[in-house]
């Protein structure tokens, strides 16, 4: 009995050094391929109301339309990204956007009887008159104009920093790779 136990234990004992050696051997470093969330899933906007998000989508399309093969704000997912960004912003920014998008709709309804999304190109242009005023360092006194100014900047940035935009533009301009030096957090 004792001998049987001894024999049974032999293969196990003899395999221990092999296993340890395997564990200690340098493993070839194979980088694990990872995908970004945006490449496998669609964002789920939840901050803006549906009328607000519709207005933001229309505004985004007007600010940065797709031109000659270059994706625009819609293709770059800028409105959905801004839903996330603004939703996580300080209260003043959230209020500015919400009231600004509401104003786009209410002003459109007051003037044309339909929300901003439903306006034709010429009608929509009239809603964006403050964006055709010369830019000044001091914010304009009108909160609606401030919203439009901020939205123009944010929509542009969200678009040109998107994977979709950079994938196309970097083909003809190597400086537009979107690559930068990133400081790794200390902890």
């Amino acid at each position: 009995m004792r001998r049987r136990r001894f024999v049974q234990s032999l293969p196990l004992l003899s395999s221990v050094p092999v296993v340890l050696a395997q564990q200690n051997a340098p493993q070839p470093e194979v980088p694990l391929a990872m995908a970004s969330p945006d490449s496998v899933a669609k964002p789920s906007p939840h901050f803006f109301s549906e009328p607000q998000l519709s207005a933001l989508r229309r505004l985004s399309d007007i600010i940065v339309p797709a031109i000659a093969g270059t994706p625009g704000a819609l293709e770059a997912g800028a409105p959905e990204f801004l839903d996330f960004l603004i939703g996580n912003s300080p209260p003043a920014t959230r209020a500015l956007y919400r009231s600004g998008l509401d104003a786009l709709n209410t002003r459109s309804i007051a003037k044309y009887g339909k929300a901003f999304t439903g306006l034709d190109g010429a009608q929509a242009e009239t809603m964006l008159a403050p964006l055709r005023d010369p830019w000044t360092w001091k914010d304009p006194p009108d909160a609606y104009a401030v919203f439009l100014r901020n939205a123009k900047s944010d929509i542009l940035t969200a678009t040109v920093n998107s994977r979709e935009w950079i994938a196309v533009v970097s083909q003809r301009n190597r400086g537009a790779s979107g690559i930068g030096t990133y400081w790794i957090p200390a902890e």
């Binding site: 970004s36 007007i62 600010i63 940065v64 339309p65 031109i67 990204f81 960004l85 603004i86 996580n88 912003s89 300080p90 920014t93 964006l128 964006l131 055709r132 005023d133 010369p134 830019w135 000044t136 360092w137 001091k138 100014r149 123009k152 900047s153 944010d154 542009l156 940035t157 969200a158 920093n161 998107s162 994977r163 950079i166 790779s177 979107g178 690559i179 930068g180 030096t181 990133y182 400081w183 790794i184 957090p185 200390a186 902890e187």
Partner: protein, 521 residues
């Protein structure tokens, strides 16, 4: 326990702390350096990333750095977290306190501009009657400027201007682009001097690579990162400081380190906060007062060079950078303001889309047409040191380690506002004279503090009743306490202060070493 008494304990590892340790360690003095931040490996702790792979597409986490306009999503890790390190100011007069808590301090990210002050600053009161003179003159500091410039590999061009003394530079003899030559010519016609930028060169020009390694190599420097100094300790019987109490940033363990001499080089406002929390070095009542900086008017003018539109300019039309040194109130006297301002200007780049009152395809066409047509200038103005601009302990706010935080009060006055307006009008005139089209001009200053040139809250002077430090950066009250950062400034001029901070720290360290050698410390 391995506790020992060091010769000198240095708080902070940036320009002033780094230079102090560098100078003293090379003289054989045993130094202990404490810094509140973690160490950094400049190669391993930075990597290349695509902006679209960052969580916030380059915008940065909203609200994380409400007062650090320099922060972006790429460099967010470098700046001191404002929640862990709070401070307060009047919401109607916000102060933007920009801090770096890493080994190397702000020299990890500084703009590298390296100008000398002149006796127009050191003896400003003699010149215009306002405020106080420094207790030193340019000739006292010149030998130290001479040593700091080669150490930081400063490149520039000698001009022979009394308001901007020349130094020991790597000569910048690069030719001017055609657009720069036009602007410089327009300035010259009006008697306004210009020069090349004077900047520290190299891949990295920091305490981290230029000062600390050499100090460590002597075997005389010990650096402890993540050491948040709570207070400087002192002995009431002797009237001397004895060391510091500090908190380990991670474990929050409280420790005490002893030293014969303590040197605060934690940056102007951090050193001031430390002294205020320690309740020392303030027999004058001046500690925390006379806070000033340089006011900035970013993008005072944004212009375009018309011939460069649509890529039609000559190959040498665009590019380059330059500097207008102070030219007001030198030989003449302005009606609306004292002292003067400097200007950084540059040719090239595409103006920001905000400057074009367009959107959609029209905006894209305008941006394409204006690619590399830009010319911009930023004003940096002298701020008058005033007693009422000050930092004090806020009794209601503490940081993440329970250390009382600062309340900062600073406002600009008509002297600065009038100066900014003069700069705007002058630059507009120069741009038009150079044939540029001005898209926008303005005189809106950034909030106090944003220039990251805070100065003056531990001012030096000959009179212990009106100053915190003597001319050697040494406390009037406690002879083994030194403060070597920008808080010792009496006036600042419009020049970036780092080179002067380095020179002052080196000079103070030479004095300190001599005093220690002769047994006075």
């Amino acid at each position: 326990m391995p506790a020992q008494t060091y010769d000198v304990l240095v708080i902070g590892s940036g320009a002033s702390g780094g230079m102090t340790a560098y100078t003293l360690a090379k003289k054989g003095i045993k130094c202990l350096m404490l810094d509140a931040g973690p160490p950094i490996d400049y190669d391993r702790d930075r990597t290349l990333r695509a902006v679209y792979d960052l969580p916030y597409r380059g915008f940065g986490q909203p609200g994380r750095f409400p007062h650090v306009t320099q922060a972006n999503e790429f460099n967010a890790a470098i700046w001191a977290d404002e929640k862990q390190n709070p401070y307060t100011s009047d919401p109607n007069d916000p102060y933007y306190w920009v801090r770096v808590r890493r080994i190397g301090g702000k020299t990890l990210v500084w703009g590298r501009a390296s100008w000398r002050l002149s006796d127009f600053e050191f003896k400003a009161k003699d010149h215009d009657g306002f405020g106080d003179n420094w207790p030193i003159s340019y000739s006292d500091l010149a030998p130290y400027y001479d040593k700091c410039e080669p150490l930081f590999r400063v490149a520039g061009r000698r001009e022979g201007l009394p308001q901007l003394p020349d130094g020991i530079f790597l000569e910048d003899a690069s030719p001017e682009s055609l657009s720069m030559a036009r602007f410089i010519g327009a300035a010259k016609q009006r008697g306004i001097p210009t020069t090349k930028p004077r900047r520290a060169t190299g891949q990295l020009a920091s305490s981290l690579n230029l000062l600390l390694p050499a100090a460590l190599a002597t075997g005389n420097l010990t650096i402890v990162p993540n050491a948040v100094v709570r207070e400087i300790t002192s002995d009431r019987k002797t009237g001397l400081v004895t060391g510091v109490n500090f908190v380990d940033r991670h474990s929050r363990r409280e420790l005490h380190a002893a030293a014969r001499v303590v040197v605060a080089g934690a940056s102007c406002l951090e050193s001031t906060r430390l002294l205020l929390n320690s309740r020392i070095a303030n027999s004058s009542g001046m500690l925390g007062h006379y806070l000033f900086d340089q006011f900035y008017v970013k993008g005072t003018v944004q212009a375009v060079v018309p011939e460069a539109r649509d890529g039609k300019g000559a190959r040498n039309l665009m590019g380059g950078a330059g500097y207008i040194p102070r030219f007001r109130n030198l030989q003449t006297k302005e009606k609306d303001f004292m002292r003067g301002y400097s200007v950084d200007f540059g040719s090239g780049g595409t103006p920001d889309p905000k400057y074009f009152p367009l959107y959609g395809e029209a905006l894209q066409r305008a941006l394409n047409s204006h690619r590399d047509t830009g010319f911009s200038a930023t004003t940096m103005g002298s701020v008058l040191p005033r007693f009422e601009n000050h930092a004090a302990i806020d009794p209601n706010v503490v940081d993440a380690w329970g250390i009382p935080a600062l309340h900062i009060h600073a406002k600009y006055t008509d002297n600065e506002f009038n100066m900014a307006r003069d700069a705007m009008n002058t630059l507009d005139e120069l741009c038009h004279a150079a044939g540029f089209e001005v898209l926008e001009k303005h005189d809106q200053m950034v909030p106090p503090g944003e220039s990251i040139h805070e100065l003056g809250t531990c001012r030096m002077g000959d009179d212990p009743k009106t100053s915190v430090l003597n001319k050697w950066n040494q406390s009037h009250d406690m002879k083994n306490l030194f403060v070597v950062d920008g808080s010792s400034f009496v006036t600042g001029g419009s020049q970036n202060p780092t080179l002067t901070i380095l020179a002052l720290a080196m000079r103070a360290s030479d004095y300190m070493a001599e005093q220690m050698r002769s047994g006075n410390l």
